[in-house]
Structure formats: structure tokens, C-alpha cells
Symmetry: C2
Subunit: 467 residues, 2 copies
Amino acid sequence: MTFRQLVLLFLSLQFLSPVALLSQAKDADLIITGGTVVTMDSSRAIYDDGAIVVKGDTIVAVGPRADLAAKYTAAQTIDARGKLVLPGFINGHTHVPMTLFRGLHDDVTLNDWLYKYIFPAEKKNVNEEFVRWGTRLAAAEQIRSGVTTFADMYYFEDAVAEETKAAGMRGVLGETFIDFPAPDHKNEAEALAYTERFLKKWQGDPLIHAAPAPHSIYTCSQKTLQDAAALARKYHAPILIHVAEMKKEWDDSQKQNGMSPVQYLDKIGVLGPNVVAAHCIFVDEADRRTLAQKQVGCVHNPSSNMMLASGVSPVPEMRAAGVPIGLGTDGPAGSNNDLDLMEEMDLAAKLAKITKMDPLALNAKAVVEMATIDGARALHMDKEIGSLEAGKKADVILISLDEPNAVPMYDIYAQLAYALKASDIESVIIGGRVVMRDRKLLTVNEPQVLAKAREYRQRVAASLGMQ
Amino acid sequence: MTFRQLVLLFLSLQFLSPVALLSQAKDADLIITGGTVVTMDSSRAIYDDGAIVVKGDTIVAVGPRADLAAKYTAAQTIDARGKLVLPGFINGHTHVPMTLFRGLHDDVTLNDWLYKYIFPAEKKNVNEEFVRWGTRLAAAEQIRSGVTTFADMYYFEDAVAEETKAAGMRGVLGETFIDFPAPDHKNEAEALAYTERFLKKWQGDPLIHAAPAPHSIYTCSQKTLQDAAALARKYHAPILIHVAEMKKEWDDSQKQNGMSPVQYLDKIGVLGPNVVAAHCIFVDEADRRTLAQKQVGCVHNPSSNMMLASGVSPVPEMRAAGVPIGLGTDGPAGSNNDLDLMEEMDLAAKLAKITKMDPLALNAKAVVEMATIDGARALHMDKEIGSLEAGKKADVILISLDEPNAVPMYDIYAQLAYALKASDIESVIIGGRVVMRDRKLLTVNEPQVLAKAREYRQRVAASLGMQ
């Protein structure tokens, strides 16, 4: 051994041995460690002192911290001790740009709201710029409340997609088809052309799933519905649609089609394993069987259905029939008025209980499932998101238990459904990227967005002759 | 003029002239200035750039800032620019020490919950110490969510009163009468003796209104109900009671008394202008007339009524009949599970709408009234609290509008009812005393209370053989 070799040996023993040890551990990018990990996997495993290992945008391991700490090393560690760690919440149905109309004429009938207020307000105000600012505001609000994926239906949806991606959020984003002139298209041909460009542009994107969104059977002709469905199938895209939301829709379908909205959509070939049906209030046993057989995903929107007095979706029966059913906030104007999915959990359980006059109708665990893994199933994304498991996208939220409403905690699911609030969400990770840390947003310029929202308030009010 | 006089004149011109000017202004202790002041006075006046002047524990002036700034000077000024300023919320019905049982066995029938879980848990755990820590925890949670006054029914209510006063909160605090052995009394004689001492002790207190609280007609004999009422009248105290909460209670009253719970309470002489009746679900037109005639205050608890599947109080009809009706969270265990009155506003409106299948059934302004001035009327305290007016107690909350869910704002009442959250409450003043400033609690040692709640979790769980 030469002197040089001796020196090298000495150095390696002194300095390199920790590296040598570490090199036995596998490389990762991020470890979230020490929290109570509520996986929502098929066994509903909960690790009291757990860890989640992330590489790139994907979870590579979930389990007890003691097991994983030795096996992995990562550039970034997030200490989750004393916190709950969950898969990000999934908002299965909304219209995010409408944040800028939040609270514009509530407490009116749906008909008055649409025709007297919202359609005129949209006609006078909605353009691509409006949609971008509305989406940014919604991203801030949704990230703050633990939503990592949302399904949207609006206009200029390509701009919604760009802003969603910029905010680091995951979206199933539907360009609306409606048989009257809309803010971004004059007719169906324009809608089809826009949507085909939109679908092509986002193919293969890790965060954005572009979709056609035929509005409903009462605003779209059979041809529009079928064209939108054909386009979706051509591009292996989902279809977003409002289904059986209103009694009038059901009555009219009976008159015009001799069958329910669900049966009509089935008959004309729209239903299938890529359809996401929002609301599904007026669905009888046969409809529920059809929805289950055709593997349609459904989204329950308790706030909206209560606020607009639409009716109550038979959620327990849908679950019993095997229909995947998630939760949605619906739009933040006229029908909610926020984007807080934790409130929808609370409401879904309480609404089912009072409707059935049965406190066992829908329990806390069920509504947490609806906000996570069942929401993923409803969006046909359960291979990708909805639970904390190796191979799934690293969409993870950390929830603080350091507020008076968070203690004591006897049951984790009850705490999530009934006691914890959006304001308890502390950090949010989407596809391995930290988008909120200790309640500080990292991907949205929040002061700028708030200022712009206030500007839009003045502009929209002026356009409608309000103060 | 001597040299000395000249010097004094010079000094007074240099330094004293502002004081001289100020001395023309009236002295006050606190001015809250620049916010959007939502008074909830009889004209429902709103001042966009308003001010509230406080001396001692009382409001001396409310109006436009420009008018009041020149007239008053105060030791302390709170800048409320960009914020909403409201009268503190009134939680009309709860059981605060039960915070320590939060989430202990939800999603069961009321019967199972009471007899299998809560009664055994209370028997094994509730003592004066438990009640003190539960009240402290509840004070932290309620102040954080903008509640300044609450009506409570529990045991060891004198300890509840001491802790409520220590936290600087206002309370209508009822010692429970129940015809079986309770944690703090073995029989009615003991309950009467305890309550009389309790009523005497707190007479004339500026924050605490002590009360007897006969639990209900199904847990108290006619004699207990009448004795409690007589005691209340002797001391000019309110009476807190659960009324017509359950279908079984109504059915049994029909069988046993040949009349509804409300008519029975009227017949035996309990109803009067000092009664606060929680729930009032099963009340028909005649009952509503009786409640109005007897000037009974009622408290609607939408979360609890939904969670326990009790039924839905006919709130619009109660309001139409002239019954003062407020809002309550009910206890934070089994029936909510939090103390967030803003959620009750949202729920009250949405529950009425869906129940009546009418989006106009109960609007945003109505539920804000229920949380403030109507809540005060329901507690028979509307001369004291419930609105921001000269002569009333200075119970004032400041609400931040600097979160994504708070913008844009087209309608203040809609924003309060449907979009703003407890977490937006920024500062809270009760009787002129600042108890929370910029979300920092000033009267409760929050870390200590959270730690103790976690300790109680272990103790209660062990007592019930849980993990």
C-alpha cells in the first residue's frame, strides 16, 4: 500500500463511511415522516407513526416509519409528527372560474338565478382573462382546503387547464357543450373544433386530463351529446355531464323520451366507463343498476343540491348498487358558495342521515372514502390517485391537529368528517411537488389573485348595474 | 408675563396643543375604526367605513368613522380597515364540557349513543375538573369561531361559570335537572340546593347569567319541571330546556299527557318570557302560537338535528309566527362535532331550502339574524347584546376578508352565511375586553388546554376499554 493509498483509506474511513452506509439506502426525492398515515388503501390501513416515500411524482413506499427510514434517503424530508397524512381530496364536480361570481344573487330560484343573473353576468364578463383569474383564485382556495384534483366544466377550458397546471394541481377539465351561444363558441361545430384541439394538446400530460363536457340532456340535443361522446372516445378522454339534477329534467325526459335521463343517455350510447355524471338525484333502482353496469362514475354535491333545493341523491343506495360515487362542491356561485370539500363530507353524512331519518345512513368513514378513493373511482382515476399506495401519484395532504376543534380525537374518520376544517390543512403535495407548506401557497401569487378578484367585483357589479 | 410664564406658554403651544384639541373630544376606552360595520340594528344599518366607540364594557357610539373620529379619543384603537365588523355570534344551545368527548362514538342511534356510550363515559369521567378543562377547550374553540355568548346545559355548572368568566366570555349557564343520579347530584333536592347556591352566587354578574336547566319532559317529572321553573322565577333567571326534539318525546307526551310537549309545558306553568327552548322540532301551528304568546325563545340546532336524524324544526314558520329563534351547535360530542356557529348559519339556510324544496325558504340575511340579534332575543338578552348599538355590551368580532374564500364579495350576508369560515374570524372583543387579537387567544392558555385534552383522550378511552 502506497502512502497515497493509505491516505485515501484513512479519508474514506473518516468521511466516506456514512456515505457508504447511505448508499445502501435507495434514493428518493421526498420522505414525509412521522405522521398518522391514513392510506385509504383497500385494507384502509392506518400507520400511527408512518412514512411516505416519493420519487418524482410517484409514491414508492408507504408504511411504518421505522421500516422505511432505514431503507430510503431523500433530498427533502417533511416532518409530519402529530399530524394526519391523507391522500389529497378530490373535488369531483365544479365550475372554478365562477369563483369570480361568488355570492352574486343567492337565495333565488334556479331559473331566476340562471336567466336573470348568471347568464347575463357571463355574457357580459366571461372571456379568457376572466377564466384565468377565476381559476387562479379557485386554485388558491382548493389547495388551502386540501383538494389536489378537481373535475371542472366551463368555457375556455384550455385556459383553465393552463392555470391549473401552473398552480401544480391535477384536473379533469371539461370544455362545455351547450346548444346555445356560449362565451367561447357560437355553435356546436365551434365547440367540437375547440374541444378537439384541446384534447390533442393535453394528451399524455401528467396533471391535466382534458375532456368534453356536454352540459346536460336539457341543454344539448341528442346529436350534441353523441358527438361529444364520440370525440371523448376517439381520444380516450372522460366525459363530464350533469345528470338527473332537476325534477323538471326528469319530467321532461319522461315526456320527450318516454324514459328517465339515465335510461335516455344509455339508449343513445353515451353511458360508459369514461362518463362522470354529476348530481344523479333522480335515479331509481333501474337507473342505479344501469349506472353500475355501465361503470359510470357519479358525483354527489350536497351543498349545491340543498342550496338550490334540487333534491337529495340516494347516496346509500348508489353505494349499495356498486356505483362509484364521489363528492363535489359544484360551482362557487349560487350553489355553495365555496370550494371546501371537507364541508361536503360533513354535509353528505348529515344530509343522508336526516333524509333517511337514520343516523346510520352514511357514516364518517364512508364520506372520507367519497372524498378520496371513491372520488378517484368516480373520475376513473383510481389507478392513479385516491389513496396512499406505492405506484400512485404522490398527492398528499398534511392536516394539523393543533387547534381546539381538533382535540381530543377518538376516531380519525369522525374527526375528519365532523370536526376538522379546511383551515386545518397545513401542507399539500401534488405529484411530489409541495404546493402549500405550513399554509403558505407556493404556486399561486395569492395577494395578486385576491386584489384581482376585488377588481373583478367592481367590474362585474358595474356590468350589471349594481353598486 | 414672567420668563417662567413665557416658557410655559411656549411649551404648551409646542406640546400641549394636540392635547388641548383632544380634550374637546370625549374619552373612551376603545375605538374600532375603518371596517365595514354590520350593525344588525333594527334598520340593519351597515357603515362601509364605520367606527365603534367603547367605554368600559359598553358601546357608546356606532356610525361612520368620519363622524366619530373627531368626537372621541380612546386609549386603544383597533384598525378594522378591509374587515367586516359584526356583533359577536350567539351560540344558543350547547353542552361545552362535552368537547372532551368529541367524536366518541358517532354514527349510532341516539339511544345507543346515550345508553351505551355517553352515560357510561360521563359516569366514569365527569367531575368538576373534567368540566373545567372541557369548558376551557370550548372557550378557545368558540372564541376562535366568533362566538361571544353561549347558552349551556351541563353538570357542575358553577365550574362552567367560573371558567367562562375567566375566559372573558358571556354565558347563560344552566345547571341540569334530571330525574336520575347525575355526576353532581343524586336527587332533585341536591339539584335544587346546588342550583339555588349557583343562582345566588352569580346574581348581578356582568358576564354570567346562571339558570336552572330542567333537561326535558321525558327526563324530568312534572314536579321537577315546576320546581326548576319556580326557582328561576324567584331569582329572575332564565330556564333552559330541551323541547320537542324527538318524535318519541312527542308520541309519549300524547299518550301520557294527551297533548304535545309544548302544550304540556304550558299547562303545567313552565312556559314564559324567561324560557329558552332548544330544538323545537315537533311543534305544530298551535304550538308555535303558544310559544309566541308566551314569549318563549327557541334555538334551532341544524347540525345536531341532522346528525342524530331527529327531524327538522319548522324555522320559517316559527319566524312567521313571531317566535324569536336563534341558532345553536348543540354539544360537540355525537351531535355536531364542533362549536362552529358559522357552519350552523350555512346549514340552517340550506336545510330549510332542501326541506321545503324552496331555495327562498330561509335566506342568508335571516340566518345571520339568527346568529346575532334573533339569538339575543331567543336568550331574552336583546337589550344587552345581539347588535352593535349605543348602550349595548361591546361584544364585537372582526372578520378578515383576506382569504381566497372571502373574495369577491357581492353581498355581505351571503358571504357570511355561505362563504366565510370560522377561521376568518380575526379578533374578538367581549364586554370591551379583547379576548382574541389577530387569531391569538388572550384569555385561554391554548397549548396547555390542547395538551390536557389529549391527556383526557387517553383517560376516557382507558375508562371505556378502548385503545
